[in-house]
Amino acid sequence: MKIRVRHVPVLTSVLLLMMLVLAACGGAAEEPEAVPADTAADESMAMEESREAPMLAAMVADGELPPLDERLPKNPMVVPVTESIGQYGGTWRSGLLGQADAPWVIRTMAYEPTMRWKPDLTGTIPNVAESVTVNDEGTEFTFGLREGMRWSDGEPFTADDVLFWYEAHIVNDEVSPVKPLWMRPGGTLGEVTKVDDYTVQFSFGAPHGLFLSQLGSQRTFAPAHYLSQFHPDFDDAEAVQAIVDDMQLANWAALWGNRRNILNNVDLPVVFGWHLTQPASSATQMVSERNPYYWKVDPEGNQLPYIDKLVYPIVESVEVQVLKALNGEVDMQDRHIATPGNKAQFFDGKEAGDYDFFTVEYAWETPVSMGLNLAHPDENLRSIFLEKDFRIALSLAFDRQAIIDVIYIGDGEPRQPAPLAESPWFNEQLAYQYTEFDQDQANALLDGLGYAMGSDGVRLGPDGEKISFDINVIAAFEPWAEIMNLVAGYWSDVGVEANVVQLERSLFYERKAAYDYDMAVWTGADGIALVMDPRSYFPFSTESLFGVAWADWWRSGGSKGVEPPAAAQQQQALYDELAVTVDPAEKDRIMNEILDIAAEQFWIFGLTKYYKGYGIVKNNFKNVPDTVWQWHVSAAPAQTNPEQYYIEQ
């Protein structure tokens, strides 16, 4: 059924609604002028009465959809609005860079984990779960679910969906050959039990101090009624295999991944504010439309989301998306396009593009953190890198402010990777030690280590060879290479030779996993809720650039990697303790102790405090906060509840 809506001479709201319904059924053929401006008032009146989007109300009227009360849970989640109660309707246009740009999809429409991070990032609150209680030991977590909550296809959401997720996905060795760390504190996999239809319990063998935080980015449920047909444990194994063959997939695990893919499977029932109507694999754009069964309301009880439709044109080059934004074809976006380099241009284009900036505060420590491989397989380099004075000398030897001036046009502040001032664990020493530019002192320190200056201006190491190492940066991540080239220039002033080597991303990871690198560069980690990812403070993970091998040793219980020095081992032990601590005050104490050791050891150094970021938002696009924390864990800006964004008609 394809109906093209043209100018409507006489308007009654009933007629309008019918037409909108028809248009919605018709799918693509909407034309913007179909809704003349003077109908906006009618619409919002209709909304006040029905507390739901006109398009849905019409479907209800047609009997295609149950009434709102039957679609909402008994106790819908009430989402505060940033500024004002919104209006229904409109399309949010942004853009994906390539078809696999999943992060932006999650950040805009798909951040519906079991718990969710608060907009100020101070902790998680129940989200899909209605409530949570924890026993005193921190080993049992009981979640209440929302009675009457439904999947986007109208099927009820119950404890069975949680159980199904656990049994079909976590327990299954084919899709989860290794069980996720956050489900196995102390090493053994936790258990999930159904208490009743709307209550589930997660119990662990050890206290799980980080569980609720970690749930801020996990969905511990899956649509059992849909996915069980693709699971050999829950359906006829042969039938499932037939589907695998039919879809030309390599194996069942691939089918499982394919059917759970939120970017490409339009049939997948979801709990998001919008559900997929055109998959990303269609190459030109990805489209999502409002989920009629969405379970959140605004403070006045209106069903969210306000915006009807999300359209993500897929572009292959950032520049195209930049031009689109300048052209006013992007309603709200920061990812990809809002780089410091583009700011001047966006600034100039504000009027023409009818948009403004919102401020983005990065919740990360520093845009550039430089880790020497302290567990380097080469004994000579290792011995040099392990000298704290050497690291101090390197940190002192480059002019952070000059680099900030060049790269960030002065927006920044010399700083090491350390918790941000906004973080409860802010540590001044860690943040600012050795950030001054003092090549004399650097030279003195290097002289003190006995690294005499060679004839060609390069110091000689203990083995009499030049001190020379490679800096691995990822080619795609500008402006790292430029920064490191500048830094290397300074280091050569003090007699240390460093060569910037640009790597392809995957190669970088491979080298890192093999401990085969001298110095690696990455963004600093989480600077606020750092308990989750304290990679910069002790050898915590493969992302701890200064001690990947040490982290491996700790994670594998000593079977892999390299045994770290005592201080690092102490930090790791402290973190083990923290992981099973439930008391917040005690957690703070342990974390601070870890940080003090980090400050003393000076494992890694950085460049600057993050510059102030920005994003583009159209002037009629409302309820986006003036300042948004940029933080991957909370799928920023998803913590600001995109479902309550609205477009002023």
């Binding site: 799918g27 693509a28 053929a29 034309e31 913007p32 390539g98 078809q99 696999a100 899709v175 989860s176 050959p177 290794v178 996720p180 760390l181 030309q248 997939l249 390599a250 194996n251 695990a253 691939a254 499982w256 991944g257 394919n258 893919n261 970017l263 490409n264 055109q278 990303a280 694999s281 190459a283 030109t284 489209v287 044109p313 897929i314 572009v315 292959e316 080059s317 520049e319 195209v320 998306q321 031009l323 689109k324 300048l326 052209n327 074809e329 990822i474 991540f477 392809e504 991303r505 995957s506 190669l507 970088f508 990871y509 491979e510 963004t523 990812d533 990679r535 493969t542 992302e543 991957h632």
Partner: protein
């Protein structure tokens, strides 16, 4: 003739087989595999990639098996079931992905080809007939300009020009309003409005070459005695020109068609990336970089097929056009 075509088709088999092996090797050449790409990507997003995720992915993509096994499986599926495998990155069968883009790619390439011809043909004739005239210098000069400016540079600048001075929505082949609209005249117009930028960019380099070929061919032919014979018959210059030398000069010109198409298709990659066209180029580039091996492999294989078919097409066209070749069989 039929036997000739059959023989050629048969000969394609080993060639394509070789191409498939080379394609596969090329994809395997870079260190790492798709998994490392995924891990790196997840990490880039700030996520910590835990072992469980890696292990899950490994099983899913079947990357743990030796290379020749992977190759045989891939080829086996192609030959037995026409199944090109699934793209790791898009999570969609490779076939669907490629076909969805090939249409526009071929359309763009054909449009470019037509454009190139429409320009190169008359200009080439003009430049040859009026050799060393002002016009000859002018047009060959323009041709050189097209040849000497890197495509991607032109693409970027033209895109900006389209945005800045024509206020055109850039990127892709349609305005946002028409992306998903059904085919209507308006949509066609919209597409044509977008098509000119890539067409011109892709066309410039090729046009220069073709003008030069046409001019040189025609100059050769114009010197041949049969032109004089035709003139001695009393034919008018234009008619004579078009019927005889141009027609003969056309042969080498035509023989480039089959080769031009694959060149255009693979050559449009860079321009398509810059202009964000939903053609095959960007897909291939990403597949190569992400080491999405079945996708990249199938793509290269497909381009190989097009190239080989293109050559065959060229030869057939040439045989059709030139009786000397036709009868030589």
């Amino acid at each position: 003739m039929l036997r000739y075509i059959l023989r050629r088709l048969l000969l394609m088999i080993p060639t394509l087989f070789g191409i498939s092996i080379i394609a596969f090797i090329i994809i395997q050449l870079p260190p790492g595999d798709y998994l490392t790409t995924v891990i790196a990507q997840l990490s880039a997003a700030g996520d910590l990639v835990e072992e469980d995720v890696i292990a899950g992915l490994k099983a899913r993509y079947g990357l743990d098996r030796p290379m020749h096994v992977q190759y045989l499986k891939w080829m086996g599926n192609i030959m037995l079931r026409g199944d090109f495998g699934t793209s790791f990155e898009w999570d969609v069968p490779v076939g669907d992905l490629i076909w969805s883009r090939l249409g526009l790619t071929v359309a763009l390439s054909l449009a470019t080809l037509l454009f190139t011809w429409a320009v190169a043909f008359p200009v080439g004739i003009y430049a040859a007939v009026r050799q060393y005239s002002w016009g000859d210098y002018f047009f060959t000069g323009i041709g050189f300009v097209g040849l000497a400016i890197p495509n991607f540079l032109l693409a970027l600048v033209l895109m900006y020009v389209a945005f800045k001075y024509f206020n055109q929505s850039v990127g892709g082949l349609f305005s946002p309003d028409f992306v998903e609209a059904p085919w209507t005249w308006a949509r066609v117009q919209d597409m044509l409005g977008h098509l000119w930028v890539p067409m011109v960019i892709l066309g410039t380099a090729g046009t220069a070459g073709l003008i030069r070929i046409m001019r040189a061919n025609l100059l050769d032919e114009l010197r041949k005695p049969y032109v004089k014979t035709a003139r001695a018959k009393g034919l008018s210059e234009l008619r004579l020109l078009l019927k005889y030398p141009v027609r003969v000069a056309l042969n080498p010109f035509v023989s480039t068609i089959g080769l031009t198409l694959p060149i255009l298709i693979s050559g449009s990659a860079i321009v398509s990336v810059v202009l964000s066209l939903p053609t095959s180029g960007p897909l291939l580039l990403r597949a190569l970089i992400a080491q999405d091996m079945y996708l990249a492999g199938s793509f290269i294989l497909l381009l190989g097929v097009i190239t080989v078919l293109g050559t065959l097409l060229s030869d057939l066209l040439l045989a059709w056009l030139d009786p000397r070749i036709r009868f030589d069989d």
